[in-house]
């Protein structure tokens, strides 16, 4: 099986890797690039633990072929914080205890950040439906929804004062 050479941008930096034609973007991120923050919970796009941004679109990286990343821009959980400064969504997940085991957390944070960039003031239903593609088995979602609401409020305030 001949391997394909892929050039892409990950979290703002150029990144290159070799992949099999059948390999998923998730596998390439985790194995070739060492970015294990995106998780495989199902491999079928049902749990959202592998959520990343591809050219600004939220995708399940287990449903994207690694070769499709050629020339495109990827953002993963590893790029959400700016250096050691956490994103408000990350801060509020910690402050609200919105994680228990933490395995689904990277996917939720990437998805929540995408929501708040699109809609800075979502109501509870909008948050719940936006995050309906991310499974959490530990929390019952209550504290996750509250953390996203609090992050939205903080970001609106920061936006207003910026």
């Amino acid at each position: 099986m001949s391997r394909m050479a892929i050039s892409t941008t990950v979290n703002g930096d150029p990144a290159e890797f070799l992949c099999d034609p059948s390999e998923t973007l998730l596998d390439a991120l985790r194995s070739s690039l060492g970015l294990t923050g995106a998780k495989e919970g199902c491999g079928s796009g049902d749990c959202g633990a592998c959520t990343v941004m591809l050219d600004g679109q939220m995708v399940c990286s287990c449903l994207v072929l690694a070769a499709e990343a050629e020339g495109r821009t990827i953002a993963t959980i590893e790029g959400v914080a700016e250096g050691s400064v956490l994103h408000p969504v990350q801060d509020k997940f910690l402050e609200f205890g919105a994680l228990q085991c933490g395995f689904c957390t990277p996917g939720f944070i990437v998805a929540a950040k995408a929501l708040l960039e699109r809609n800075p003031d979502p109501d509870e239903s909008e948050i719940r439906y936006w995050l309906a593609g991310n499974l959490c088995r530990c929390t019952g979602y209550d504290k996750i929804v509250r953390a996203v609401q609090a992050a939205a409020a903080q970001m609106r305030q920061e936006g207003a004062t910026a």
Binding site: A38, L94, G97
Partner: protein, 752 residues
């Protein structure tokens, strides 16, 4: 959220600090089971049975071995033979032969998805391709799935020669009923006959999976000198080490096991599946080997919770005093003995005063993966049966369902499930809190109904080791062997900080590998904050005693002249020595300040919970929506409020999924038709409302800070709370879970 007023003088307990492992987990840095790699690591794949029940005639691995890149192939022939011996296995005990057979079929396959052979190769793709080249010749046998099929005359027997345990006289004929367990007191039939009112029903639930988002994964390295290492995501790396060593006939000391972060377990990661296979692949290949499960493998090859078929009748006098309870249930247990009939029986008997009772559970085997512990193992199903029946009884009596429960609820001193008196429990307090909650009296909308259910879980203590060591600047290192599955590092840090009266942030918590701290049992049985927490407090108190002693010596006074306050020794004449000052002078004393405690506390107490649920039922589609939910629980003392509330909310959500959506669906061949998250429908964010919590605190007097286990009890009431709410909304009693739209629609049609 109703965080309790804290009348005690705690400084750190009952607060909400950020967990010590938090930043790693929100930035993607935390290393979970499938994330770990080590130098030279290769990849394994497992070949699994396509048959629900078959004899393995032969296995030809030659084509797989010939594939370039393949480094090792393992079959059951590579496993050492096992004697029939019962050993500790997580929260329960299992026969060693069954533990080994769970990892790889020995002679017979017992379910679709049963591991038959394994390959290790330089890439996962080669390993998977090679596994497909293994030729297995099967003699296919008839299989059974439902309890009634498994118990029918002439049913195929999974374990040849198996005689039901717990029945006198012992049956002479082998069957699929592995065991029976009965508790009884008084003449239950006479008491029922004399009762003014009785309620009865036949109930049924399906097998459900724990549904942790992280599939099983491990990396194994087994060297030529016999020493091995395992990196695993589990609920207890000590117990999984012990099980693996037992299966492989290794000295336990030769198997060092490292805990990785665990992505959920709920009981399902208390036993071994991949570990001995990975070890054997490593031994044969001379390389570290990673084995992981796909989601489909998790559903087919790891343990669900048993389904239940149950008959119940409960009697009461006219004033609502319970007179008798009679229950018989059959666990649909999967391929191996040992399902949860004992806790099932106890669930029926521990919450209410019962003048007469008879409760019997049967462990019935069938051809799907052997069931495993799932959060309060065995209790949710039986609480569904009992609490639904109580709801019917309240209706017949014309009583408020909380009042019926209050009238009969056990109080301290009343007989517990095995007739020993209950200790300082808080069921009445929970029922009263539920009744007083605004939810209970709030108006309902159209097509809505309200249900309530109470229940308890016995909790556990168990063995734990912890150490507390001070650095020269007074910072505190806490080390345990209890994997952190839901924030327990934070709870340990809080209890150490409270004991030493130091800031929470000066305490750091490590979960050590098996070579770095003594044994701790699995994270299960709601035991870690209770038992491991007790070990941490005992060790911290010993450290504190050393600090006081050394402070006295440094000040030239006696210990009784020292008052320890705010992390410092206060002596006569306003002398003050901080923890840092004392720790920094360790070189002047007999050595560094550190203490280890090993405990096995037996004075745990059960947790009681009461849940209120509002549902809205769409009569045109049968769709049930949970529109409001409140979980009340006696938590003893809440150590970290967020993670206590989170346990109540998460348990409620899992229970709602069990009630409304989740079930294994089998086709005629014994194949699971829904082995993925699309069709095995766990609750998502848009399915649920906020889940309100009420923390009732009736402290356990035997724990230094009053802790009772919290994690499991919240999954016990929801099944009945939801079903009772649907009963209230529709006027129809549904006795079979899950309450899927087709079932509800058909039920409403039939009664219309």
């Amino acid at each position: 959220m109703n965080a309790p007023e804290n009348p005690k003088t705690f400084k750190v307990i009952g607060t909400r600090p950020v967990r010590p492992d938090g930043v790693d987990k929100v930035t993607g840095k935390a290393v979970y089971g499938p994330d770990f790699t080590t130098a030279g690591m290769i990849h394994g794949a497992i070949l699994r049975s396509p048959h629900a029940h078959a004899r393995i005639i032969s296995i030809d691995t030659s084509k797989a071995e010939a594939l370039p890149g393949v480094k090792a192939v393992v079959t059951s022939a590579d496993f050492p033979g096992q004697e029939s011996k019962v050993v500790a296995a997580g929260e329960t005990s299992s026969n060693l032969q069954h533990i080994a057979s769970t990892c790889m079929a020995q002679g017979k396959v017992l379910y679709i998805g049963h591991a038959v052979a394994a390959v290790a190769a330089t890439t996962k793709a080669i390993a998977e391709a090679a596994a497909k080249l293994i030729v297995v010749d099967y003699e296919v046998l008839p299989h059974v799935i439902e309890v009634e099929e498994a118990l029918a005359d002439g049913a195929p027997i999974l374990h040849e020669g198996m005689i039901t345990k717990g029945i006198e006289p012992a049956p002479t004929k082998p069957s699929n009923a592995s065991a029976s367990f009965t508790l009884h007191d008084g003449d239950v039939d006479a008491a029922l006959a004399a009762s003014a009112v009785t309620a009865t029903g036949k109930y049924r639930t399906a097998p459900v999976h724990q549904g942790y988002i992280e599939p099983h994964a491990c990396v194994a390295s087994w060297n030529a000198d016999g020493q091995g290492q395992l990196w695993i995501s589990s609920q207890g790396h000590f117990d999984l080490r012990n099980q693996t060593a037992a299966v492989l006939h290794m000295p336990i000391g030769d198997l060092r096991t490292y805990p990785l972060e665990i992505g959920g377990g709920f009981g399902g990661k208390t036993g071994i599946y991949l570990e001995p296979v990975a070890m054997l692949l490593s031994k044969k290949s001379g390389r570290p080997v990673r084995l992981t499960m796909s989601r489909e493998e998790v559903f087919a090859g790891s343990g669900p919770a048993p389904g239940v078929v149950a008959d119940i009748i409960i009697g009461a006098s006219e004033d609502g005093t319970l007179t008798a309870l009679k229950l018989e249930f059959w666990n649909q247990s999967g391929a191996y003995p040992g399902s949860t009939i004992h806790p099932g029986v106890m669930t029926a008997l521990g919450a209410y005063r019962l003048p007469a009772f008879w409760a019997r559970g049967w462990d019935v085997l069938s051809n799907f993966a052997g069931t495993k512990a799932y959060r309060a193992p065995g209790a949710p199903q039986i609480a569904f049966v009992v609490e639904s029946c109580l709801d019917d009884l309240a209706l017949k009596l014309g009583m408020d369902p909380i009042d019926l429960r209050l009238k009969n609820a056990v109080v301290p001193g009343d007989p517990g499930p095995v007739r020993l008196p209950h200790g300082k429990i808080g069921y009445v307090e929970c029922l009263e809190a539920a009744k007083a909650h605004p939810h209970w009296s709030a108006p309902l909308g159209p097509n809505q109904g309200r249900g309530v259910a109470g229940a308890f879980w016995g909790n556990y203590g168990g063995q734990s080791t912890a150490s507390v060591a001070l650095a020269s600047d007074g910072s505190v290192q806490v080390t345990t062997g209890s994997p952190d599955i839901g924030g327990s590092r934070a709870s340990m840090a809080i209890m150490a900080a409270e004991t030493l009266q130091v800031p929470y942030e000066s305490v750091r918590v490590t979960i050590a590998d098996t070579a770095s701290i003594g044994y701790s049992m699995v994270t299960g049985g709601s035991r870690v904050t209770f038992a491991t927490g007790k070990a941490v407090v005992v060790a911290a108190r010993e450290v504190l005693a050393t600090l006081v002693s050394r402070a006295a010596s440094l000040m030239g006074v006696t210990e009784d002249q020292i008052v320890w306050r705010d992390g410092a020794a206060h002596g006569p004449g306003e002398q003050v020595l901080t923890i840092a000052a004392i720790a920094g002078k360790a070189g002047q004393f007999s050595g560094p300040i550190s203490a280890e405690a090993a405990v096995n506390p037996l004075d745990y107490l059960p947790a009681f919970a009461v849940h209120i649920c509002d549902t809205e039922v769409d009569a045109e589609t049968g769709q049930v929506a949970v529109v409001r939910y409140t979980a009340v629980q006696d938590v003893g003392t809440a150590i970290h409020l967020d993670y206590v509330e989170g346990q109540l909310q998460g348990g409620a959500a899992q229970g709602i999924g069990w009630a409304l959506n989740e079930a294994y669906l089998f086709d005629g061949q014994g194949r699971i038709e829904n082995p993925g998250f699309l069709d095995y429908r766990m609750p998502v964010a848009s399915d649920l409302p906020m889940i309100d919590t009420v923390l009732v605190e009736v402290p356990n007097p035997a724990h230094p800070y009053g802790v009772k286990g919290v994690g499991e009890a919240p999954i016990v009431p929801p099944l009945a709370a939801v079903a009772n709410a649907v009963r209230d909304a529709t006027g129809k009693r549904f006795t079979q879970l899950p309450l899927t739209p087709d079932r509800v629609y058909a039920g409403l049609k039939a009664s219309a």
